[in-house]
């Protein structure tokens, strides 16, 4: 039986910002088509790890391959096209409407704009198409971010604290959608603060502390 293909392979990865270590000696393998949760306290390095996996920050030392792209020598632009990012701070243009944001993304990606209606239905924003993004609630903003990702269909989904300020209905909706994404074969890495929720969400939980992996519960 062949072993699963790793979508992420980090070896002693170090990320420095102005000399300060955001990540220190992280070694991690994540299999393709799986859901992994990264947990830890504020400042533990969860977001830094996700940004490294997305090619949004550069490796200072060590090595790593994400979705077939070498983090030291590969084309990080190419990697970014393969990953999708959803942060808790909002991921789009606040002055544009829901439809305008998604039309921009669809045209940038060369996707048919007809797909927009489908993804809006999927995330439950079909009745909010002409509302400016800044007028959406926190949960609706998160759904708009998801719609942006569904339109993109990335190989690797990086979700940074997606549950922050969501109500129970929003969390349940997110859980269902993440499950569908994993079932479709994509890899999902979620950072979450709440260890109980992490255990409920995924069989693989990576615990971070001080920029290092402090535990890996599989």
């Amino acid at each position: 039986m062949s072993s699963p293909t790793p979508v992420v392979a980090l070896r002693d990865a170090v990320v420095l910002e102005d000399g300060y270590p955001l990540l220190s000696g992280v070694t991690l393998d994540l299999d393709a088509g799986t859901l992994s949760v990264v947990t830890g306290a504020n400042g533990a390095g969860k977001t830094s790890l996700l940004r490294l996996l997305g090619g949004l920050t550069t490796l200072s030392s060590g090595s790593g391959v994400v979705s077939g792209v070498d983090l030291r020598t590969g084309d990080l632009r190419q990697l970014r096209r393969r990953v999708g990012w959803l942060g808790h701070e909002g991921s789009f243009y606040d002055d544009l409407t829901v439809r305008e944001n998604l039309t921009f993304a669809a045209k940038a990606l060369g996707r048919p704009v007809e797909e927009i209606a489908r993804v809006l239905d999927r995330v439950g924003l079909a009745n909010r198409v002409n509302i400016q993004a800044k007028r959406l609630s926190a949960g609706q903003r998160r759904r708009l971010g998801l719609a942006w990702l569904l339109l993109r269909r990335p190989e690797v989904w990086l979700l940074d604290e997606p549950y922050a300020s969501l109500d129970d209905e929003g969390r349940t909706f997110f859980d269902g959608l993440i499950g569908d994404v994993v079932a479709s074969g994509a890899s999902v890495v979620v950072s979450a603060h709440d260890p109980l929720r992490s255990r409920a969400l995924s069989p693989r939980t990576i615990i971070m502390a001080g920029g290092r992996i402090a535990g890996d519960l599989s």
Partner: protein
Amino acid sequence: MIRIALLVAGKDLRIERRSRVLLWQVLPFAVMALVLCGLALGPNHAGRSSAGPGLFYLVMLLVTLLMINRSQVIEGARGTRTSVATLGLDPAGVFLGKALALAVELWLTGVVVLAGAVLLLHTALVGSAEALPSVLVILAALAAAGTLYGALSGGGQGPATLLPVLSFPAFAPLLIAGERSYSDALHGGALWQWWVISLVALVAYVAIGILLYGVLEES
């Protein structure tokens, strides 16, 4: 590249139309700056002064700095930057699109400020109309240089004071060429040499922007 440029320019102009920053903040600022220039010259000198073209470009320089900051702030939110980065847009197209949107905004402001200069600084109407084509070229060059220096100064995330310090040396030749061509239009001088300088500057800044914008974004 052109497809992305038009997409980015359309998005920036739509955001500007929606937020009305140009209409309610930048244009009033430009008119107030012109009024202050008129007051600085004094009521007896404003009509006779040859400072009109220079003051017009001084006001446009201040407006340009405001608009560059605004253009960069649109992309400045961390989540937006990250999401857009994962779209993998061609940086040359992004540069051209942002420069085009900024040029359109500066052209609109420039026409208003030019009319304001005629009214408030009493520059000649016919000469100002003759200067209009060269003004549009200079403002397009300022937009290209400004987009480049906006990215260099931190893309809306760096300190706001860095942009003027970095960009003034690049803007100075454009402002000199603009002032000279406007003065020549008012006083019947030969315009063609300033046209050549302005066009060369425009082409140079567009070419440099296409080549370097991606590197600046990455850094």
